[in-house]
């Protein structure tokens, strides 16, 4: 019984490292004009700093970003009646996941460019980054007022977007946890993150089939990034067996978000 053959590849290119792709750069994010946003407070065009350098990521900042985006690492997270996550991301496990991801993309922007559109953002925006001298009137700020240069940096800016990918470096890559804070959505930042991931794999490991590793509610978003259904017509499946669906003796279960997944028993009955 054969299933889930990893997709075909054509050419091999043994290369490590970037070889030409910038590890970090400043870009402009522009809000679409046909947006439904009535508020004129939201800026139309802001400079953002996009980086694939893992050292730019602060785990606490990242955990707060997960919170602001109401995003969980679990496919079936525990949620309250309002659909809000009950517990924050486990930082220790998140750090492990980050260290075993092949690519981490982080997006920063100036705090002044982030406008609170709901309670979550409010909390994060006001909170100063730990261990950082609050920039009162740095040279950058002064320059910004005189000449509107796009000056954004991870140390002074706020983490507003993220994405990561896991790969076997040969046949497949999976994208996880792409997120942008709510007030800055619709500006192409998420698309930039995904395109950056694609470019990395195109360059470093040619002809990888990339999937959005965890099926979730962002089908339209990924479609806009050029993703489609599997050309082999495969069905996406997830392990969801729990105690209630399958009764047996001596069952061990593992907590995964709101699901108690059944661990297959050790017996070797064939």
């Amino acid at each position: 019984m054969a299933a889930a053959a990893a997709p075909m590849t054509i050419k091999m290119k043994a290369c490590c490292g970037y070889g030409g792709i910038k590890a970090m750069e400043i870009r402009w994010a522009t809000r679409k004009e046909n947006s439904n946003e009535v508020s004129t407070k939201l800026k139309q065009r802001i400079p953002i700093f996009i980086s694939t350098n893992p050292s730019h990521i602060n785990p606490q900042q990242l955990r707060d970003l997960y919170g602001s985006c109401n995003h969980s690492c679990h496919r079936f997270p525990k949620m309250d009646k309002m659909g809000k996550l009950v517990e924050p991301v486990d930082i220790k496990r998140l750090t492990i996941a980050l260290s075993h991801s092949d690519l981490l993309v982080s997006v920063f922007c100036n705090k002044v460019d982030v406008l609170a559109s709901d309670d979550d953002d409010c909390g994060n925006e006001r909170e100063p980054n730990k261990g950082e001298n609050p920039p009162v009137l740095g040279l950058g700020d002064l320059l910004q007022r005189v000449v509107p240069l796009p000056v954004v940096s991870p140390s002074t800016g706020m983490l507003v977007g993220f994405g990561r990918a896991v790969s076997d470096h040969g046949l497949t890559a999976s994208i996880f946890d792409v997120m942008v804070i709510p007030s800055l959505r619709g500006m192409g930042i998420g698309k930039m993150i995904v395109k950056r991931i694609i470019r990395y794999f195109e360059h470093v490991h040619e002809n990888l089939a990339i999937n959005n590793g965890l099926p979730n509610l962002v089908r339209l978003f990924f479609k806009a990034c050029g993703f489609g259904d599997d050309i082999m017509g495969s069905t996406t499946m997830m392990y969801t067996r729990t105690l209630s669906t399958h009764i047996e003796c001596d069952q061990m279960v593992k907590c995964a978000g709101r699901k108690l997944l059944l661990v297959p028993p050790l017996n070797m009955d064939i």
């Binding site: 053959a5 990893a6 075909m8 054509i10 896991v166 599997d230 499946m237 279960v253 661990v263 009955d269």
Partner: protein
């Protein structure tokens, strides 16, 4: 993460031998006598997992603290005999499960050909295996009778999983030699992977199944398009 050991009845797994027409099957357990148990880093955890399958007391609910495994620890390789049968001519065939990831890439390509998969570059295949979080294999070892002891070792099944070691895992390339299919070997491969992943609290286990094997995976506890959402792919433009 909480681990709950829910015990319904006392369990002692039986050793039984059925006797169909020609062969003598011995269903063997992992921890009995002459198993070829190659555990390179012996730890309590392996025996914990054995014990958890053999709990003898009833009516107790044990809530264990979060997984004792150190997070950075790679999956511990295990190897044991799954099935052993003796043919009429005295040839003994053993099917060995291994999670050590020791795969001859040419054997694998032969196996992929047998199941009718399109060819993929060997180097890419090798790299993919090397960078997989877990690679589980099934080998058949046939020993001729007599003191010669000629052994024939053949790769008959494989499955692998990629993972970020914390939350997500994707199972790829599950295959079993057609002449060995229908025996529950594929089921064993996948269940072992799931077990190993869940033991490490990796709860998001995904795979992309060809249409003809969707039912196979449903029987193993997989749900197609959970909550109605599909995985999506990006392919390089040629």
């Amino acid at each position: 993460m909480l681990t709950l050991n829910v015990v319904a009845l006392p369990s002692i797994l039986p050793i039984f031998s059925a006797q169909p027409s020609n062969h003598q099957f011995n269903y063997l357990l992992a921890n009995t006598g002459r198993r070829k148990l190659k555990v390179t880093r012996p730890r309590a955890n392996f025996w914990d997992s054995i014990r958890s399958g053999f709990l003898k007391d009833n009516s107790t609910q044990v809530v264990e603290s979060p997984s004792m495994l150190q997070e950075e620890e790679e999956p511990q390789p295990e190897e044991f005999v799954l099935v052993e049968k003796t043919e009429e001519d005295g040839v003994v065939e053993q099917i060995i499960f291994s999670s050590g990831g020791d795969v001859d890439i040419y054997d694998l390509q032969t196996l992929c050909d047998k199941v009718g998969w399109p060819r993929r570059p060997l180097s890419k295949l090798a790299t993919a295996l090397k960078n997989s979080y877990m690679v589980a294999t099934l080998h058949s070892i046939q020993k001729s009778p007599g003191s010669e002891g000629n052994e024939q070792k053949k790769l008959i099944g494989m499955a692998r999983a990629t993972s970020d070691h914390a939350f997500n895992a994707t199972i790829w390339d599950v295959l079993v030699d057609p002449s060995y299919q229908g025996q529950g070997l594929g089921k064993t491969l996948v269940e072992k992977l799931i077990r190993a992943l869940l033991q490490r609290d990796i709860g998001n286990i995904t795979l992309f199944a060809d249409s003809q094997v969707v039912e196979f995976y449903q029987n193993l506890g997989f749900e197609p398009d959970p909550e109605g959402i599909k995985g999506m792919f990006w392919y390089p433009k040629y």
